[in-house]
Symmetry: C2
Subunit: 150 residues, 2 copies
DNA sequence: ATCTAAATGATAGTGATTATCAATATCAAA
DNA sequence: TTTGATATTGATAATCACTATCATTTAGAT
């Protein structure tokens, strides 16, 4: 849960400043279910700090990405969705083209295959994004109902 | 090479019109090396038809995607890159974060693993995008030179 | 050749993200 | 604990990729 210390040390290591806003945005992201976009992170952060700015949200999300504490995913909408990184569970994403539902996957096998493939080519892989799209159980035949969104 | 016939028939099947512009854009995409973005496709098309419009390029690329004749990839820049589909060789992409070079992969094993994983969850997969990023052979240690771009 | 709906192209508009910059806050040093 | 240098913020303008609009053109049927 609290990657707060590693955040603080990573920040200080680079001569940056640990601000109230940065801590808040990380907390918002870590306490979020699913894959909020920048606007959602902004809305949640604003509940706790009404003076926070949109630009700061974007800047901080970019910073968290650089530090490896957040990932950005393209889930088929025209904008990014974010997720706090839990290094113990790298996972992949499926998006239903009809209802927009996002399903998460784990596959150590795909991770292994990818790594060995890349090593053979002399590539140093820092990030893997696997994204499928198609139709979920409910949307596949001739439609039951489907609720959740990214 | 010439998926021109399948294009013509797919177009007519839907009561659409086979225009000079649509044929040109498909030809441009098929004769392109690498992964041109919309602007590059526009530039190449304009060499052969100076009157062609940007909107038509976007519209046609979207159409080709729908018909399964083109794929769009997010290679880490903020915009899409396109590629004519060669159904015999589904492949994946690696982007070097330093020099921007794109390396292509083939992995029947990953394709198989993905398909079986999704079937277990009742998902109908229509599209798989696997994208790694990191540092290529030349950019990994302390830098040799690196040329090609997306 | 004529007709009609689909498609085009110029351009305005949109939505997401980034740049700018004066005001503010962090944090180290005095 | 004040002070001071400067990193950061927040309001907002700007940019960038892409989409909508609409008058004009064109493909393809008759
Ligand atoms: Mn996820
Ligand atoms: Mn490719
Ligand atoms: Zn669905
Ligand atoms: Zn490189």
């Amino acid at each position: 849960m609290r990657s707060n210390e590693s955040f603080a040390s990573a920040i200080r290591l680079r001569g940056m400043k640990l601000t109230r806003q940065r801590q808040l945005i990380l907390e918002v992201l870590e306490s979020s279910r699913g894959h909020p976009d920048a606007e959602m992170v902004y809305a949640k952060a604003k509940e706790r700090d009404p003076r926070i700015g949109f630009a700061t949200v974007y800047r901080t999300l970019a910073l968290l990405k650089q530090l490896g504490l957040a990932e950005e995913h393209n889930l088929g909408e025209g904008h990014g969705h974010f997720e706090a990184v839990d290094k113990t569970k790298p996972h992949f994403h499926f998006t239903c083209l009809k209802c927009g539902k996002v399903v998460e996957f784990v596959s150590p096998q795909i991770l292994r295959t990818t790594q060995s493939l890349c090593e053979k080519k002399g590539l140093l892989v820092t990030d893997i994004h696997l994204h499928f799209s198609g139709y979920c159980r409910h949307c596949r035949p001739a439609g039951s109902e489907c609720a959740e969104k990214p």
